[in-house]
């Protein structure tokens, strides 16, 4: 494995420190099945998912974050009526929980895609 060791990246006109590129990329992403039986397709930096019940899944990371103040985004793959949330008290450097709610507010199974930006340990 070779390493490109540069301080800045430029297109010839604009230059940015390499840290902006490295730190600005997603450090985790995945897409789960609707019943949390596994991952669909590609994943990044996940070690496992844990199906904790209807509409509740915990994702664990292989390379942990430096702190639990990372930035999470997520989407429910449904045409309407559901949202995905992530309770703040479940955030840790090694895992986080996602919950899918239906339009009545109850936990409900659904395919979700999630990603996280943040600094790794």
């Amino acid at each position: 494995m070779s390493t490109l060791n540069v301080a800045n990246v430029t297109d010839g006109t604009t230059s940015v420190p390499t840290g902006y590129v490295v730190n600005g990329s997603a450090k985790y992403f995945s897409r789960t099945t609707g019943t949390f039986t596994g991952f669909i397709g590609d994943t990044l930096n996940a070690s496992s998912l844990t199906d904790d019940g209807a509409g509740v899944v915990t994702i664990s990371f292989t390379s942990n974050f430096n702190n639990s103040n990372y930035c999470i985004s997520g989407m429910v793959l449904a045409t309407s009526g559901k949202i995905v949330t992530s309770p703040e008290h479940t955030h840790s450097v090694g895992s986080t929980q996602f919950r899918v709610h239906n339009d009545a507010g109850a936990d409900s199974d659904a395919n979700i895609t999630t990603s996280i930006l943040g600094d790794l340990a």
Binding site: M1, G38, T58, S60, S63, N67
Partner: protein
Amino acid sequence: MIAHLWDRLADAKARLDPVQSKYRVLFENPTEPEAPASVLVPDPNFMAAALAGDVLPPIDTYIRDQSVPDGQPKEHPYAEPVGAMTEEEAIEYLVMKDISPSIWRDYNGNRTIMKIVPVELIPSDRSFRNAWKINQAEQEITA
């Protein structure tokens, strides 16, 4: 110099085919007796890295890092990677990494609160998902 775990994972992902495990880990949290049983599913890229070797750090580095406060330097990213594991060893590694020690190490009760089972034993009918418990007599779970 040892490359950061993140770099080793990126390299492994580029050269290894994902591996779907034939195992799942069922567990219950003894501090939440009303909660349903949980089902841990390994990530295919993680399994590929574990089976290939020279990617993942020793499991004890993850365990020691659990007591390191947020923002402080962690041991596991730059620890010397371990060699290739069997699938069974990889599942045990994952249990120790992703499940609380209060379940796999510290629990002293009589109830079976964790089982490693073939994926076929996980029910596909989720009608009563929030009532799943580990069957104490059989190698399966019941609703």
